[in-house]
Amino acid sequence: MSVTREEVAKIASLARIKMGDAELDKMVPELNNILEWVEQLGEVDCSGVEPMTAVIPNSLRLRDDVVDAIPETAGGRREDVLANAPAAEHGFFGVPKVIE
């Protein structure tokens, strides 16, 4: 499979990365080289092989239902949460108006 300029443009918009014509022109062959190269994986017969789920055998650990149990992952720290916001307003994050 190889991607067209239109497809790359579509992927870029899906990934929310604005791309000019020049950038697209450069990107198309690069992506196609990489895709062509990774397609050698198709050679491998993977019938009966499970996709990897956990790289090291280990199952999911669950935590107890306790509010603010660990300070680093607790709520109640609005100042910290908003500290780096480009547009923090009255305790909210501000974004360009969204019309729903």
């Binding site: 992927i11 990365i17 604005k18 990489i34 090291i56 650990r61 910290d80 974004v95």
Partner: protein, 493 residues
């Protein structure tokens, strides 16, 4: 009095504890060395005060006769992928420029708790995506090494290139690195230092800017195997904040170090003899076998049949995870916001990410987005995860015949900055020997072996069984004792 910047972790820690010099003297010496080394561009920001404060705390403890910690008095470099409270954390990307976390990564906190101090935040490939440290928004990092008879700036490797450059140049006794597909081992090999990536889950990923979650592992980079053991012990440990963190007892790697390999079997994977591999690399590999035989080990041939598919599988899995992990950089809660006149929310995202991400990051995000998109998911992502299962199975079967695996770390020595970035693929091939262990989550280390005929360092890689960092360190130590690599780059910065 000894030149303090020549000392490594163990020598500094023991020297401070023994009163040969104060932690402050050490911090001042390294702060000065860092200040002089701007030409290397190894640091994005320097934090001399942090180093001094930690040093003074150590000296104060010593005065009171308190325990100084396993890294007491040792100032280190912190890869700028680790969130550090109040200190700019960027992942070398414009999109995070100016971001000051209100939190401290578990690994860096562990190091501070062990008595270490911070010299600064080290440069890296942007979002740890790269093998030459040429994708940083804050400029290339130069290796302290030069090819004999040339003056071209050489690559320190990547993505932990600031770390490798700083440690090799003796402006830091040690540094943190992260390894997703070779980002600790390849730079260590390029610069003649040691670096170990532990078993996946040993070091908490909490507070480390994510590249590819199922592969990312932090680890130490230092000039000796002992120093790596000491520092890894300080960095690792169970963290309830990371659901993939290993909840198992922490070994005393430093205490148990032994270069005696009697009764150990070392596997040599035939598939690592790839065409395009530099002759001198193969020679160093042969030499490595000799050293390990000399250390009492038995050398056995093994096969890792799916080795050639590891790298392409990695370049599906890692970008796929990255495309999702990097979605949070959207200009809403932190970092760069690019809001063109009259732009709506979605336009703001596209403009912000276009302005904030570098070319390699964009390339990988697009690849990842594509392989996960409707209609392609199974052909690419699912297939790659199946290959990953096969690669891991290869190692499992190999470890039935051997205790550890010896291979080259890289197919070539370092190269001049700018010489490989025409075609992304040739750059990716740098990690062909490093990636398989990453896909399988195994502990793996690079140890310097020798200089090649150009006077550039070559490294040997040791890969171990899951959780067997000790075995890896022991083999590394046996190599170190026989290679006794003590070459240093000539100071030009």
């Amino acid at each position: 009095m000894t030149e303090l910047t020549q000392l490594g972790v163990k020598a500094i820690r023991d020297g401070v504890a023994g009163g040969d010099f104060t932690a402050r003297e050490v911090a001042e010496a390294f702060n000065a060395a860092v200040a002089e080394a701007a030409d290397l561009n190894a640091f994005i920001v320097t934090t001399p005060d942090h180093a001094l404060a930690a040093a003074d705390a150590t000296d104060a403890k010593r005065a009171k006769g308190e325990d100084l910690g396993t890294m007491g008095g040792v100032p280190i470099g912190m890869k700028d992928l680790f969130a550090t409270r109040g200190v700019q954390t960027t992942a070398a990307s414009h999109i995070l420029e100016g971001f000051k976390p209100q939190y401290e990564s578990t690994v860096s906190q562990n190091l501070w708790d062990a008595g270490a101090g911070m010299l600064g935040k080290l440069n890296l490939d942007q979002f740890a995506m790269g093998s030459s440290n040429e994708t940083s928004y804050f400029g290339n990092v130069a290796s302290p090494w030069k090819k004999d008879g040339t003056n071209a700036a050489m690559s320190p490797g990547g993505s932990s290139g600031g770390s490798s450059s700083a440690v090799a140049a003796r402006i830091a006794p040690a540094a943190t690195g992260t390894d997703t597909g070779g980002s600790i081992r390849q730079p260590a090999a390029f610069t003649g230092i040691c670096g170990i990536k532990p078993t996946y889950g040993r070091c908490s990923r909490w507070g480390v800017v994510a590249f590819a979650s199922s592969l990312d592992q932090a680890g130490p980079m230092a000039r000796s195997v002992e120093d790596c053991a000491i520092m890894l012990e300080a960095m690792a440990g169970f963290d309830p904040k990371d659901a993939t963190s290993l909840d198992m007892p922490m070994p005393n790697w430093e205490a148990a170090l032994s270069a005696d390999l009697k009764g150990k079997r070392i596997g040599i994977p035939k598939e690592y003899r790839m065409d395009g591999t530099d002759e001198e690399i193969l020679k160093s590999w042969e030499q490595g076998k000799e050293w390990l035989r000399d250390a009492g080990a038995e050398i056995v041939d093994i096969s890792l049949p799916h080795t050639k598919y590891a790298l392409p599988a990695y370049y599906i899995v890692a970008p796929a995870e990255a495309s999702s992990n990097l979605a949070r950089y959207d200009g809403v809660r932190y970092g760069l916001r690019d809001l063109p006149d009259g732009a709506g929310l979605q336009d703001m995202y596209a403009a912000t990410r276009a302005a904030g991400f570098g070319d390699e990051v964009k390339r990988r995000v697009l690849i990842g987005t594509y392989v996960l998109s409707a209609g392609f998911y199974d052909a690419y992502y699912t297939q790659a995860q199946k290959i990953r299962t096969l690669v891991a199975r290869d190692f499992e079967q190999a470890f039935a015949q051997c205790d550890a695996i010896l291979a080259p770390t890289t197919p070539t020595a370092s190269f001049p900055l700018g010489s490989l970035n025409e075609d992304p693929l040739t750059m990716y091939l740098n990690d062909v020997f490093a990636v398989p262990a990453s896909l399988a989550g195994l502990p793996a280390m690079s140890v310097p072996a020798m200089l090649n005929s150009d006077g550039l360092p070559l490294g040997l890689q040791v890969v171990g069984k899951p959780f067997d960092e000790q075995g890896v360190l022991d083999v590394g130590l046996a190599i170190q004792q026989r290679a006794n690599f003590n070459a240093q780059p000539e100071k030009w910065w």
